[in-house]
């Protein structure tokens, strides 16, 4: 009898799609995420071969590879060998990372949130242009924005005195802290992630019922009070998700601090992690990875504490709503300022890439040529074999094909998973399983890309069928980018009131119909973002794949190959190609589905 009851309960449990989704994803994600986490923990608490050589020599021990030891932790964090070593390698970079991430998050949310509000809630002009162009900084790899910053602001008073564009055109020399250090790092990361904030916050604002704000207006609340008491609380999930993701991304970012941080002696955890990874103290690099993960866990806990206070964040209900726009004073001036700022943030870098790819002599704009694009003969004059121009270069087309295929497969896997996870988590909200799934889906984001790639390289030596395969790249990228889609899917699903699906259940619509014909179309803009963001992230990703594939496999590894060898015309041209491809994908998605990264938030 008891056995029958149990099996009936189990069967009954699995008749609900949300339960099936939660359990299935929990099993998959725990398998794919717990092992890497365990690897990081294991490698932090044991010594590698070179670690053992070093520690035996420093402390007179007899450790062997694989022995348990706390030395990785005590030496890195608590000055076991020298206090200065800990301060230099850990505490100082940690403080720098936290400061940089806080500033970048603030900039991203402020800039992205303001633009999202202007697009969805005001009558600002040129909405279509602004909403289309504002996502460009996210499409471009963050390190290229850092390079453009350096190209513009480097001057004869800083470093070796290379003259940048600003001094070249105007004679103005900005101080060194403006060119290198925490200021450019925070600003570049903030600008890079502002579109992120714009997409998430704007998606919520667009679908929010304007009656809520109109009711407050009728009750004579001023604009600022309405924002504080009505708008902000409702966009809180998106706001907090944005802060979390930008903070985490900035904490783990590597390329920007290398380009505009290190020359100013500004070091962060990721640059130190890279240094330790390359050193004979690789175990300490895993300790640092663990610290990054734990910081992320702390942020997640904060998220839970904040979100947990609210019972509901429903904004999309069965009732109709209409948007009313705030009339801006000085609309034309504000619009023009926005367009000019966007030009420098989003269009000028692309223009810069194009120009650099046309210069026969790097930096000399009087030597423009199309050969780096159109030459059908191998281009000479470089110390490496460059091959034909970009549009006729077989190596470039092969790498591009690889990247496109990988990005497409990853975006399909991740986008669909994010949508399903969002559904499962929102339906089972409050349950332990749903909370666990939501947290586990976010975990990969906390592990730096380079470490993540290394962990899966180790995994592939145990699971040989994965080694060197396309499937391994798909697996690694899918897990790494799932957080974007799961957060986006969860936020979007939480906005939907249960009565919408209940109405469909009452009329007998099966689950798949409810998903594809009702829920997905309502929040289409947010869900499609869940497909587009992994695509964009994957096509411009480098550090995740660099250990798992060769330089000719993907377009970014090929870009890095040319950049490392100072063939900047080719690297800038490939960079431009990546940006153009994403724009074309965005445009095509818009034409086919009516949705796009920018359209979902009010760019009519």
């Amino acid at each position: 009898m008891a056995k029958n009851n149990f099996s009936n309960r189990v069967l009954s449990y699995f008749t609900k799609p949300s339960n099936v989704i939660v359990v299935a994803f929990l099993i998959i994600l725990l398998s794919c995420i717990v092992y890497p986490l365990y690897s990081v923990l294991n490698l932090s608490l044991t010594v590698g071969q070179m670690d053992s050589l070093m520690y035996n020599s420093l402390f007179g021990l007899h450790l062997k590879k694989g022995d348990f030891s706390l030395l990785n932790i005590t030496m890195l964090m608590f000055g076991k060998f020298e206090k200065d070593y800990s301060i230099s390698f850990f505490w100082s970079p940690l403080w720098n990372s936290i400061r940089m991430s806080v500033y970048a998050s603030a900039i991203a949310v402020l800039v992205g949130g303001i633009v999202a509000w202007l697009i969805t809630r005001s009558d600002i002009k040129y909405k279509k242009f602004i909403s289309a162009v504002f996502v460009f900084p996210y499409i471009m790899p963050s390190w290229t924005l850092a390079l453009v910053w350096k190209n513009v602001f480097a001057n004869s008073q800083v470093g070796t005195g290379v003259v940048g564009m600003l001094e070249s055109l105007t004679g103005i020399c900005v101080p060194s802290w403006f060119v290198y250090g925490i200021f450019p790092c925070s600003l570049v990361m903030g600008i890079h992630y502002a579109p992120f904030a714009y997409i998430l916050i704007g998606g919520i604002l667009r679908n929010m019922d304007a009656n809520l704000e109109e009711a407050a207006t009728i009750l004579k609340a001023d604009r600022w009070r309405i924002i504080r008491k009505v708008t902000l609380p409702i966009v809180m999930p998106a706001l907090i998700s944005t802060v979390l993701l930008v903070f985490s991304s900035t904490m783990a970012s590597y390329a920007v601090p290398v380009f505009v941080g290190s020359p100013g002696n500004f070091y962060v955890l990721s640059t130190m992690l890279r240094a330790l990874y390359s050193s004979s103290y690789s175990g300490q690099s895993y300790v640092m990875t663990l610290v990054l993960v734990l910081i992320g866990v702390g942020m997640l806990s904060l998220n839970q504490a904040v979100i947990g206070k609210r019972k509901s964040f429903t904004t999309v209900t069965g009732k109709s709503g209409q948007v009313s726009y705030v009339k801006l004073k000085g609309n034309t001036v504000i619009s023009v300022i926005m367009v000019v700022l966007l030009f420098f943030m989003a269009i000028f870098p692309i223009f810069s890439f194009a120009l650099e790819s046309l210069c026969e002599v790097q930096g000399d704009y009087s030597t423009l040529t199309l050969k780096f694009w159109l030459s059908r003969d191998p281009i000479s004059g470089f110390h490496i074999a460059v091959g034909e121009g970009i549009l006729f270069n077989p190596a470039i087309w092969k790498a591009l094909g690889g990247s496109l295929l990988l990005s497409l497969v990853v975006s399909l896997v991740v986008g669909t998973s994010g949508f399903l996870i969002g559904y499962g988590v929102s339906k089972k909200r409050g349950s332990r399983a749903a909370t666990l799934l939501s947290n586990v889906a976010f975990f990969p984001y906390l592990i730096p890309s380079m470490a993540f790639g290394s962990i899966f390289l180790a995994v592939s030596t145990k699971l040989l069928f994965l080694r060197g395969t396309f499937f391994l790249l798909v697996l690694v990228a899918s897990i790494k980018y799932l957080p974007f889609a799961s957060r986006s899917g969860t936020s979007a699903m939480m906005q939907l009131s249960g009565e919408i699906e209940e109405a469909a259940i009452i009329v007998g619509a099966p689950w798949i119909t409810r998903m594809t014909k009702i829920l997905f179309p309502i929040q289409k803009s947010s869900f499609i973002s869940g497909y587009l963001l992994p695509f964009v992230s994957c096509i411009r990703e480098l550090s995740l794949f660099v250990l798992l594939t060769t330089s000719g496999t993907l377009i970014t590894t090929l870009l890095s190959y040319f950049d490392e060898r100072n063939v900047v015309q080719m690297s800038n041209g490939i960079n431009l190609l990546i940006v153009l491809i994403v724009l074309i994908v965005n445009f095509t998605t818009n034409k086919l589905t009516g949705a796009s990264i920018d359209k979902g938030i009010g760019g009519n």
Binding site: L30, Y35, M50, M54, I87, T160, A275, V440, N566
Partner: protein, 389 residues
């Protein structure tokens, strides 16, 4: 969150059941015997044997230098190659991940960093040393095990302001002075050969040379006031404080060539070829007391589980031959074959390079034995200074 962490730890216990380490020391697969046999063959004999062995397949080469991608070997021998270019950390990780787990990845490694090569790769029998018979008499004993294919040099170089600045760096202690704040070099934390250079500098030989240069520059003997273990550490610490660490040599070259008069750096002489170097002067050409920079070796070894060991030995032989060296490394300045019968090219001499013997006298050369004896202490101290700038 607590429950998640408990879950992780429980999963760890479960996984630890499966996490048995594989043997890192590989067995003799016949590669060692093949290499021993190859060491007695002439080029023609080895070529024939290699072609029979490899057929139409590809020889896989992992190299930390982009030059391994050159196709001249294939043009000469007809043997196809497939290359990859990991950095000086990744190449050892690949050895560990592949050979350490009994997996085939590459046949030949062309790599830097004597410390990891000796204490990791050779210690675990991941690689086998091969010395080509025909070149052996021209390679010094110290360069034979492990085999050095060539040396690169990184030198003190400055922007001469279109030729108006001369004799700007004449003593190595100058670069520790405030006027040289911002001197560029690739970070020793990211480039093992740079770290190995600094560690080698702490040896008794270079302590003595630094002491001479100190006396010549400051007019008095160096006195150990207790702050540093020896004179070399003082030079290293002050030099690091002055340095601006850059992530690529080509960036350093470009910055200096386009920068202010007097801007200086310690970087690959070879990178001259990518910039307009009429603005650049190598301090050594005007005379510098102490040392002019450092030489670091590029080693070439056979994978202990190579699929095509004879073809691998043929490739290494090619690197050591004159035509091979010229095709891959020798067109430009800054590269010197360990085969002393292969001289610096006329083109390189014409743009200011010198014979290898010139650089041997005035550059710090990576000393694998010394480095291994002091690595832990020296690395930790120097790395801490680099990170704490």
């Amino acid at each position: 969150m607590k429950k998640l962490l408990v879950l992780v730890l429980m999963a760890g216990i479960v996984f630890s059941c499966f996490a048995g380490g594989s043997s890192e020391k590989t067995q003799d697969t016949g590669v060692q015997a093949a290499v021993k046999a190859a060491e007695k063959m002439t080029w023609d004999e080895l070529l024939q044997k290699a072609k029979e062995e490899i057929g139409d397949n590809e020889l896989v080469i992992y190299g930390t230098t982009s030059r391994v991608k050159e196709t001249s070997f294939t043009e000469k021998t007809g043997i196809k190659i497939k290359t990859d270019q990991p950095d000086d950390t990744q190449i050892y990780e690949k050895m560990q991940a592949e050979i350490g787990n009994g997996l085939y990845g590459a046949d030949v490694f062309v790599t830097t960093d004597s410390f990891n090569l000796v204490n990791l790769a050779f210690a675990n029998n991941w690689v086998v040393n091969y010395v080509p018979a025909e070149a052996k008499q021209y390679i010094s004993e110290s360069d034979q095990n492990p085999l050095v294919a060539l040396y690169y040099d990184r030198l003190f170089i400055y922007n001469n302001g279109g030729g108006s600045l001369k004799n700007y760096i004449t003593n190595v202690w100058q670069v520790t002075e405030p006027e040289f704040k911002g001197i560029e070099m690739k970070s020793p934390l990211l480039e093992k050969c740079s770290m190995n250079f600094l560690i080698t500098l702490t040896s008794p030989e270079w302590q003595a040379k630094l002491a001479e240069a100190y006396k010549s520059y400051y007019g008095k003997d160096w006195v150990n006031e207790g702050k540093y273990p020896n004179i070399s550490y003082e030079w290293i610490h002050k030099f690091i404080q002055n340095c601006s660490f850059i992530n690529k040599d080509s960036t350093v070259a470009k910055d200096l060539a386009n920068g202010n008069k007097g801007a200086s750096g310690l970087f690959l002489f070879e990178k001259f070829r990518g910039v307009n170097y009429s603005n650049l002067t190598v301090a050594a050409t005007e005379g510098i007391e102490g040392f002019a920079g450092f030489l670091y070796p590029i080693f070439s070894v056979v994978a202990s589980n190579a699929k095509y060991p004879y073809a691998a030995c043929l490739y290494i032989s090619y690197l050591m031959k004159e035509d091979g060296f010229r095709a891959l490394f020798g067109k430009d300045m800054g590269a010197y074959s360990a085969n002393t019968s292969v001289k610096v090219s006329a083109d390189a001499l014409a743009v200011g390079d010198q014979d290898f013997s010139f650089w041997l006298d005035i550059c710090v050369i990576e000393d694998p034995a010394y480095i291994s004896s002091v690595y832990a202490q020296a690395y930790t101290k120097i790395a801490g200074w680099c990170a704490g700038k």
